[in-house]
Symmetry: C2
Subunit: 504 residues, 2 copies
Amino acid sequence: MGLLTQVKPNSNDELDLQLIDPGRIKIDCSGSYIANDHLLREQYHSPTPSTTPSPQASDSSSESDGDVDGELNGFKEGESESSNEPKGNAALPPDLKKADISSNKIREIELTTTNLNNEYDLTKNITLPKHNSEVIHISVDIGGTLTKLVYFTKSHRGDGKGGGKLHFKDFQTENFSNEVLKFMIKLIQKSIHKKEVPPITYIMATGGGAHKFYQLMTKTFRKYKFPMKIIAKDEMHCLIKGLDWLITKIPNEIFTYDLEENNTRFIPNPYTHDEQIYPYLLVNIGSGVSMIKVTGPGPNGFERIGGSSLGGGTLWGLLSLLTEANDYNEMLEMAQRGNNENIDLLVGDIYGSNYNKIGLKSSHIASSFAKVFKKLRFNNDLNKDGMLNGSPRLTPAEKLAQFKQEDIARSLLYLISNNIGQISYLQALRFGLKRIYFGGSYISGHKQTIHTLSYAVNFWSHGDMKSYFLRHEGYLGSVGAFMMGPNSENLKNHESNSPKSNKS
Amino acid sequence: MGLLTQVKPNSNDELDLQLIDPGRIKIDCSGSYIANDHLLREQYHSPTPSTTPSPQASDSSSESDGDVDGELNGFKEGESESSNEPKGNAALPPDLKKADISSNKIREIELTTTNLNNEYDLTKNITLPKHNSEVIHISVDIGGTLTKLVYFTKSHRGDGKGGGKLHFKDFQTENFSNEVLKFMIKLIQKSIHKKEVPPITYIMATGGGAHKFYQLMTKTFRKYKFPMKIIAKDEMHCLIKGLDWLITKIPNEIFTYDLEENNTRFIPNPYTHDEQIYPYLLVNIGSGVSMIKVTGPGPNGFERIGGSSLGGGTLWGLLSLLTEANDYNEMLEMAQRGNNENIDLLVGDIYGSNYNKIGLKSSHIASSFAKVFKKLRFNNDLNKDGMLNGSPRLTPAEKLAQFKQEDIARSLLYLISNNIGQISYLQALRFGLKRIYFGGSYISGHKQTIHTLSYAVNFWSHGDMKSYFLRHEGYLGSVGAFMMGPNSENLKNHESNSPKSNKS
């Protein structure tokens, strides 16, 4: 039976996630590495190359073979852009290389922030030098805010033994039909046109949008006469599967935050023994937060035990009204420069000192954002009706102008991060878990966020629990879906029913 | 040794809270009652008298004797206002009595909201018909946002056997010197001038501001030549003491929220047995949140086990920037009318349906406030630089105008309340506590808030934990401090050193 006849999109109104399980592909991870040095967002501001460990970084230029990012970045019809991806010395993004980094040119460097942040996302590629077998699928994790896509490209080396690369790309879910589908179509078309690779015929889909956009994907691929098969996988299972793959296969993937040295610290070698890994709590922070207890490998080893609606969507939602930040990256940059003491009510503001009896320092936040209404009301001498000395009340712009946007951004970043840290601690405590992995695009390699989450867990647990972070934090679900890809049996089916015959 | 010489304000730079413990006064609570029917804020909109149980309400008119609220409301020097307190039939606030409540006059009633809310605070008085012994102290709980004051007035009945009333009054802490101190001075002056009552000579102070404003209070009273003694008490101890007094002495003080019938339910009789009360978790929601585990009576029966910086100050702070509400009451009214589905990203928005596997309904909030940035970005067709079709970015006012303030208020009320509910559940779970008392001015008798807290606790605990609320929710600390008042020995000292001699 050919693949095309197996796809029955119209009879599939009620989607059963577990209906089809084609098994798992075997990705050869030996010798894999992340071919760039960039870990934390703030390091993009650094005028000197960072020193995070990635021994292979210096030869990453030779790894650009086979990349399709460049060709596909301008994926809108009729457009063609050259690659944004840093090539050559990956330790220093190209804009920094061009910039004069003497002190009076700092502004020039800062102006490149937006570009640099885009590159932050593009430098997550994982090189798989030994993986030479065919890959006929891509994966997509369609979240409430972001859609995360993972795909594989083969090296250009003629003998087919040059290995390849995993690529990671994200989009706004709101642009699903405009951007994600178009990007997928380009990827598929490219794979069909290239004689030396088999065409992509599977989409491994996860996240809430795997349900919501299932019909749209099916309809679109039929329109293009692509014989695609979309396999939807359970979100929590994919997260765990992705985390498992990353921490057991990829060197320098995991890092922790050293609260004393105030810096990140890599775990160079992947974990190989179960006792290094289990049990743990995975806290995945996307638009909202999911918390998953994991006691062992396999589909019976995990359980979603809680969550929170206060996540990345909350932070971005509030800050899109309260600041002029145009995207999440700008917002993180703002927070980095802000001072929350102008916004938050500290223990010292209430007590005039520490509240030693219950262990609260004067610098602890007693009430997030609580200085704002005091300043608005009392600095402006407003009366009870909000009148300003008899004049009409302040406009929203006048009110906002009394605060630095950076301070607001920092206060809210702390608010969300502290809160997630505390709930994570309480959930971990329920089950005696000592390791907490934080994933999800909320973190985005942002040092303050990582520090705050680590600090909160350490504070509440009195140092008894440890926080772990991941370089591919936002891609756990899509990596998991990718690793669950179609099994070899389907691959055989596919080979005997080459979709290339559907071309023209 | 006289009291005056015991007060050494200048040598008291480092305040030791536990230095002085003059014991406790005995307040005779027999026959006590709350002389009004108003429990929930929304009932003020009701055109018919509410039906909450308070059998004595009909004779509350006779209880106005001895009130000083009216005389003291206009406490600013040179001002004199008549009482705002509802007299006569307390079941219906005076503005409602005046208003034509036919359907086309609803607006008129709504306009009185602010007045009615003020009255909400004024109808908390507790009548103590049997307490006839002298009271020479007031109490004050100085929080990060509000200062809560409790004082006693004797009935005007000539024989001195008419009992009296406890009064509850709150102020903005920011106005401490302008309002709180002036109100205290008026109270003290009044007590000095009245021949039939002994003058107030003790201030029982608690809350963070008891430290911060200690010197200011001392200095001010010395200036007025009042022989006041300020006794600062530990905040957590006062909260527990106040809760204990209210739930064991005052009928119809405790209520619960019936999630099926969607209404409040009184617990008519005070608790008399320890097993009805202990153990429990007290969650006190002021500017920030304190959580106190209580396993038994007395100072060794409680421990602060956690807290959160996301409390009333956070809600008010955010809404003072995001809405035109002039005070907390207006903000609560706004939330009552709002629809959070325009602001929050629901499970159904992401999945297109329920996520049955993990028990999330499509109506559950997946990410609070997360629809806002989507609407701003995609409804306005903004490009990546925040440009609107080539025009400059939206102003704060233009952005805010795309959302209903009421919807924003409701979303944030849910955000804070759900979050507190979840953390309360997790903290209670740690210690196997099944009863959670919610106190603090955050609640303010607001039905949505009470519903949300109850719902969250019920949802997370699968009905295993029960939420309790209090009519004097905001006054636990000040009631506790009041009940800890000076002991009879000090009273004797005081009588032999009458401060009246300091007059003139």
